[in-house]
């Protein structure tokens, strides 16, 4: 096909034509085009997030660089961070928190998955059973923690020790034993949190197409292979996000040690959040408290990023 003059001109024109004048949008135009309405709808969101989320974040950033008693504040640079990193309790708190998280992962993560798989197999009583599984979540955390504190009574007549006594074991000191305190807290946390996991996993299981199981069955897969090759891969998106949420949640454990043990015995259950609390409300040192909060936030962000990167191959999104 011959190249006509018109074609050439058409191709060249956009390049040689003077640039189109950028349309000036005056405030009046902006308002006429609905800008005000947009702003009106946007403002409550902006104000509420600004006041309740962004401003406290900015404020804590500022506090971490200050020494303050809320009457006068002095800028101290990175001194608060140095003091946090030099505190011998930090190592203890990091170790306890990591131990708690890992134990909660090993013990607490599979329990709701297996329970959900089991419940999914139930036909008639699934509704009642899942409601029963969810029941612990309905109990207010403080009440539940206090209840478990009583269960963990280290005397021979404590509930758990009585049960152990039936099989000739114990009594154990539970929360009073520096070696048992974290496992005891994990046991409680697993009980308290597994109801939510069960409901989420159960909902995911219900979305898996039955044809996949039928096909696997025709191929001769037994129950374990069906679980391994069908159930788990189909749930992987939810599993990955739940694992991340659990990691972040357990690294921020506070209520259980605060109410049950106060971080004791001998700082055996001192977690990072409890240390932050002590900095702020025992020592009245908000600079150190916010510095450690920021360090934790950075560590959790890095952990999350690393986790997302490491699991990108299995991710569904």
């Amino acid at each position: 096909m011959a190249v006509t003059d018109t074609t050439v001109r058409a191709a060249v024109e956009p390049l040689t034509a003077p640039p189109r004048r950028r349309r000036h949008r005056s405030p009046a135009t902006w308002a006429r085009r609905g800008g005000l309405t947009t702003l009106l709808f946007f403002l409550p969101l902006l104000l509420s997030f600004g006041y309740f989320s962004w401003w406290p974040i900015l404020r804590s950033l500022m506090l971490s660089l200050q020494q303050t008693n809320f009457i006068t504040s002095t800028w101290v640079g990175l001194a608060n961070f140095e003091r946090v990193l030099a505190d011998p309790l930090l190592g203890i708190a990091v170790w306890n928190t990591t131990y708690f998280s890992l134990l909660a992962l090993v013990v607490g993560f599979p329990v709701p998955i297996l329970t959900a798989v089991f419940l999914a197999e139930m036909r008639r009583t699934r509704g009642v059973a899942s409601a029963l599984a969810y029941l612990p979540v309905i109990i207010p955390p403080v009440v539940a923690v206090l209840l478990w504190k009583a269960f963990y009574n280290p005397g021979a007549n404590g509930l758990f020790n009585t049960m152990l006594g039936w099989v000739g074991l114990g009594p154990l000191a539970w929360l009073n034993d520096p070696d048992l305190v974290i496992p005891s807290l994990v046991l409680y946390a697993t009980w308290a949190g597994f109801g939510t996991g069960v409901i989420i996993y159960l909902a995911t299981l219900m979305t898996i197409r039955t044809e996949l199981y039928e096909a696997a069955e025709i191929d001769g897969a037994r129950i374990l292979r069906r679980f391994w090759h069908v159930t788990l891969p189909q749930m992987r998106g939810v599993l990955l996000i739940m694992l991340l949420l659990q990691l972040i949640g357990t690294f921020q454990t506070f209520t259980e040690p605060y109410i049950m043990t106060g971080g004791g015995p001998e700082n055996g259950s001192l977690t990072i959040l409890l240390l932050i609390y002590r900095y702020a409300f025992v020592a009245g040192d908000y600079g150190r408290a916010t510095a450690l909060s920021l360090l934790l936030a950075v560590a959790l962000s890095l952990l999350s990023a690393l986790y997302m990167w490491a699991t990108r191959r299995w991710s569904t999104s």
Binding site: W55, R59, I71, V282
Partner: protein
């Protein structure tokens, strides 16, 4: 798309700036004027904290009665009562948010750091003209002073004592009218209670700074403080504190008279004692209302004895509550708030009619009248008040003869001068270690605490 992205960013920046400016414009500042500027006849509104909650209807009724009487006597003063109380974790928020009531009650432990931070008003000049404030117990008033200025009014005071259950003493074959006066006697009594009754003989608190608080008290009784007077050196490693921990170790591991739970906070201890599950523990001697009125303990079971002292003992820790005033209050508000405190807590010491009517009403409501305490006014004024209200005393004071007859003879040793709560918190772990590990190395525990608290002191 660029301009669309930029606008929220600009809006955000503007919002932050607005917040930052607003925040900078807040902050407590001293009010203009002093006591001589106060126009005591002008209409004024003040907020007062510590209104008892509805869970304590008798105490609330008593508070409301006083409020009505005060408003009637001072028609120009409007009082807005609040249930706000001092708490370690909310105090700074009250200051930062500018919502501290004009007057609120705070414990002895906090006042010196509040003064140092400028968080309370200087009320020296507002107290000058009052008859009763010139008769305050000097050793108690000293707690509220710094450099000859007064920053608070002590409203109640007590010494640490040995609380004991008189009923359990009887059950164990001990004489409740002859409480232990040495630590060896305490140990023997604990063994008897543990053997003869269902209760544990002795208890010590260990959580929320109470373990360190009691260890400090015990260290005083055994002969040492834990911080030097200048608050520059921690003196946690000392013979007296080591002796106390040895004593704990004996009761816990040799005698087994301390029960099995060693994660006990103040509320746990109060409940255990009030319900008759504990024979003895070291606590403020002012706990009659707490045990009997709030927790239903039989008044005849409540016993309090002076804290035993070793030969080298320094004395006992004192404690109590003070009325502190907002540093942002105007002179009129401060004058009104001081008048309210005088009316609420001190008029009974100077006006017989008020003393009698208050005692009569309190007794009718089941509130304790004449409970054991360290007088906040001098002995003559206090005895005069006791004489006025004698017919309404509903507390078996004869059960505390030994405590009451010696309370003013015991040397009062103040709280550690700096970072007391941090010290107590550090010591909690020491006490927990001794009580939960049979092989706990006391010297090492104390050395770790010493190093940790020394660093805290050096941080200033």
């Amino acid at each position: 798309m660029t301009h669309i992205r930029r606008r929220p960013a600009l809006a955000l920046a503007a919002t932050f700036t607005a917040f930052a400016l607003a925040a900078c414009s807040q902050g407590a500042g001293a009010p203009d004027g002093d006591a001589s500027d106060a126009d005591t006849e002008a209409p004024v509104t003040i907020t007062v904290g510590n209104m008892p909650t509805t869970e304590n209807p008798e105490l609330r009724a008593d508070f409301e009665r006083k409020l009505d009487a005060f408003t009637e006597a001072h028609p120009n003063i409007t009082i807005e009562p609040e249930e706000t109380e001092w708490a370690a974790d909310t105090w700074n928020a009250l200051i930062a948010g500018g919502t501290m009531p004009t007057v609120i009650s705070a414990p002895f432990t906090e006042i010196q750091s509040m003064i140092a931070r400028g968080q309370v008003a200087d009320v020296t000049d507002y107290l000058a003209d009052s008859e009763v404030f010139s008769r305050l117990n000097p050793s108690v008033l000293a707690v509220a002073q710094a450099e000859d200025r007064t920053y608070a009014i002590p409203t109640s005071a007590w010494t640490m004592g040995l609380l004991y259950n008189r009923d359990l003493f009887e059950q164990a074959g001990l004489d409740p009218d002859a409480p232990p006066q040495t630590w060896d006697e305490v140990r023997t009594a604990a063994q008897a209670i543990d053997e003869q009754t269902e209760a544990q003989g002795f208890l010590t608190m260990t959580l929320d700074n109470t373990g360190g608080w009691v260890l400090t008290t015990m260290s005083y009784a055994f002969g040492s403080t834990l911080e030097n007077e200048d608050a520059t050196e921690a003196t946690i490693v000392n013979d007296a504190t080591t002796e106390v921990l040895d004593y704990y170790q004996q009761l816990r591991w040799e005698d087994e008279t301390m029960g099995s739970n060693f994660l006990v906070n103040y509320d746990d201890a109060v409940q255990l004692f009030a319900s008759g599950q504990v024979g003895m523990f070291v606590q403020g001697a002012d706990n009659y209302t707490n045990m009997v009125v709030k927790n239903g303990m039989d008044p005849e079971h409540f016993g309090v004895a002076p804290l035993p002292q070793q030969p080298a003992g320094l004395g006992t820790l004192s404690g109590g509550n003070l009325a502190v005033f907002s540093p942002t209050a105007t002179p009129e508000q401060l004058a009104a708030a001081v008048a309210w405190v005088e009316f609420r807590d001190f008029l009974k010491y100077t006006d017989e009619e008020v003393a009698v009517s208050e005692a009569e009403a309190a007794a009718a409501d089941g509130v304790a009248v004449g409970e054991p305490a360290l007088p906040v006014v001098d002995r003559d004024v206090y005895d005069q008040w006791l004489g006025w209200v004698e017919p309404y005393i509903n507390v078996p004071r004869e059960n505390y003869d030994l405590y009451l007859s010696t309370v003013e003879e015991v040397t009062l040793v103040p709280e550690p001068p700096a970072k007391a709560q941090e010290l107590y918190n550090t010591l909690d772990a020491v006490v927990q270690g001794v009580l939960t590990r049979q092989d706990a190395d006391i010297e090492q525990l104390l050395q770790t605490a010493q190093d940790s608290f020394q660093s805290a002191l050096e941080l200033g």
